[in-house]
């Protein structure tokens, strides 16, 4: 993998973690059960921590780049940052890039919806992230391997927690079964993108699909849910083509950094 591809791959991993963390943190203070408010906030915190590790690494990579490599990824760098005349930092990447420079999966940016939507999204994403990190632990890049190794313990917990909730809601009451089915209808077409390869990914993501599907089927069996027949997948997030939702998320998240450029917080 070329160094500039590694940079984009690291950004993609960081963006996934940040955006889903941002979404889950919207539950903080508003959860249906106090213990679960704490649990989903914990997951948001884990993702924020992962995002920081990846962004810091991406910034280091960039700052050490040759001029040619810097040119190669130039369109992914925030325009305002270029006026600061200083090295790239994690917050520049998180708070100053525009929608089309973000490389996260579409599924992470969808609004949080109801509890069923959020836990099912988390389950789909965590299952993917788990198998992804499992492979990434063997990465030829030592730093990515180390972050994956550290993060996978958290992801294993997210996967168990969200899987248990999918089962609880699917098997719970008539109302909860209806709600989780509705969430499934809304989410399913955003799962395919996880396995669509891009040029910058070191891991062959298409190869993760079987393990992912097996995990989903195992949980769906207990949750009394059926896999949808619809095979059409939305994609584009990994290349910077997003849903309408990301712009609003970024406008809110980035407002202070954009209002007071280069201030220290």
């Amino acid at each position: 993998m070329s160094t500039n591809q590694l940079f984009l791959y690291t950004l993609h991993l960081a963006d996934n973690a940040l955006i889903i963390g941002q979404r889950n943190s919207e539950w903080t203070g508003h959860g249906p059960i106090l213990e679960q408010d704490i649990a989903i906030t914990n997951i948001a915190l884990d993702h924020l921590g992962q995002a920081r590790n990846f962004y810091q690494y991406a910034a280091t990579l960039y700052n050490d780049f040759s001029e040619a490599d810097k040119q190669a990824v130039d369109k992914y760098l925030p325009r305002i940052w270029k006026t600061f005349n200083r090295e790239l930092q994690e917050d520049d990447l998180a708070f100053l890039r525009d929608e089309h420079q973000y490389l996260n999966l579409l599924i992470t940016e969808l609004p949080k919806g109801d509890w069923g939507f959020s836990v099912l999204r988390q389950f789909f994403f965590s299952a993917f992230q788990f198998y992804h990190y499992q492979k990434l632990q063997q990465s030829s890049d030592v730093q990515l391997a180390a972050i994956a190794e550290k993060s996978i313990k958290e992801t294993a917990y997210h996967l168990r927690w969200s899987g248990e909730w999918v089962i609880r809601l699917g098997d719970g009451t008539g109302v909860s079964a209806q709600r989780i089915k509705k969430a499934l209808e809304g989410l399913w077409m955003f799962t395919g993108e996880m396995f669509v390869a891009t040029a910058y990914e070191e891991i062959n993501v298409a190869s993760l699909k079987d393990a992912w599907l097996q995990k989903v089927q195992a949980v769906f069996g207990e949750a009394l849910l059926e896999l949808p027949k619809n095979a059409w997948a939305q994609s584009g997030g990994k290349e910077g083509k997003h849903t309408e939702h990301l712009g609003f998320l970024l406008a809110e998240m980035q407002y202070l950094q954009r209002t007071y450029p280069n201030a220290i917080w």
Partner: protein, 318 residues
């Protein structure tokens, strides 16, 4: 034994600094006072998540976002310990939440003020959590065992919150002109509500006397308030900011800071529902609770089904 003897034994334990535990005999008024105070504190933690929680999505850096999320999560944890401590007195968490939603139970009035700028996150940590710690550290020695133990955990985390709040303001106070103005404005808005957190003057405090006798409370409202003013009047200098009180000055004779008159009319209005955010906060809590009904019902139904399945399996095995 006559009730009077029970009362004597109870008061003797209190006087000897022996903790009262859930199964011990206690006067009904002691139990009620504790339920009121502990549930009010738990509710304050839960409602207190909202004014800060509204800045999570807008926190200005990844580090600040992480700290803020962790802090708000700590408050949920405090609510949890405190609800559990209150439950040992014979009231359920659902009943307490019902009392919050109906307005029967109160929560700290400070959370009825709005958080308008990012500097409010620092000011809440420094002033609001600072005032809370002043009140809460003595509660680590409160006579009721489960309460005092819960408070030890709460206080450890609160003192961290206060330090991080001050540190956040310190960074802003060295920043741009806009950031400095943000800090002064936040202090101006949070100062008076913070010193009101200690409650009415001792002479007007209705619950104080018995709480002191039972060692639920160990210092009076005015004593704690004075300590807080003395501490903050010094710390504010490190920020290069001022407190919005022209009467604040060091008194050589008393070795304390004198301070101006508190606007008790505002205090009682906010307590009784006329604060800027009373309705908003309570509506938000009720909405979260109502939208969670189906989730709680599903969790209960699933748990029941699992239990039934285990019974059936065991039946087959037998």
């Amino acid at each position: 034994m006559a009730v009077q003897n029970f009362e004597q034994i109870f008061q003797q334990k209190i006087d000897d600094d022996i903790r009262i535990e859930p199964k011990d005999w206690m006067p009904e008024k002691y139990r009620q006072t504790l339920i009121r105070q502990i549930s009010q504190h738990a509710h304050s933690e839960i409602v207190g998540m909202l004014p800060e929680g509204s800045w999570i999505s807008r926190a200005p850096s990844l580090k600040r976002k992480q700290i803020l999320v962790a802090k708000v999560q700590d408050e949920a944890g405090h609510g949890l310990y405190l609800y559990s401590a209150a439950e040992t007195l014979g009231i359920s968490r659902d009943e307490m939440i019902e009392q919050l939603h109906s307005g029967k139970a109160k929560y700290s009035s400070i959370f009825n003020y709005p958080t308008i700028t990012w500097a409010d996150m620092g000011a809440i940590g420094w002033l609001v959590d600072g005032a809370a710690i002043m009140n809460q550290v003595p509660l680590c020695r409160a006579s009721y065992g489960p309460y005092s133990r819960a408070m030890i955990r709460v206080c450890k985390e609160e003192s961290f919150h206060q330090r991080q709040g001050f540190e956040a303001l310190l960074v802003l106070s060295k920043g741009t002109a806009e950031q400095k103005a943000m800090v002064q404005d936040a202090i101006d808005r949070w100062w008076w509500p913070s010193i009101m957190m200690f409650g009415p003057h001792d002479a007007e405090s209705s619950n104080s006397e018995s709480s002191m006798k039972w060692k639920i409370k160990r210092f009076s409202n005015d004593e704690l308030r004075q300590r807080f003013v003395d501490m903050i009047a010094e710390q504010v200098k490190l920020l290069g900011m001022t407190l919005p009180d022209p009467d604040l000055k060091w008194n050589e004779d008393t070795k304390h800071y004198d301070f101006g008159k508190i606007n008790w009319e505002e205090f009682w209005n906010v307590v009784s529902g006329n604060g800027p955010c009373n309705k908003q906060r309570l509506d938000t809590r009720k909405k979260a609770w109502e939208e969670g009904v189906w989730v709680r019902e599903a969790a209960a139904a699933h748990a029941e089904k699992r239990k039934q399945r285990v019974v059936v399996k065991e039946g087959i095995a037998a």
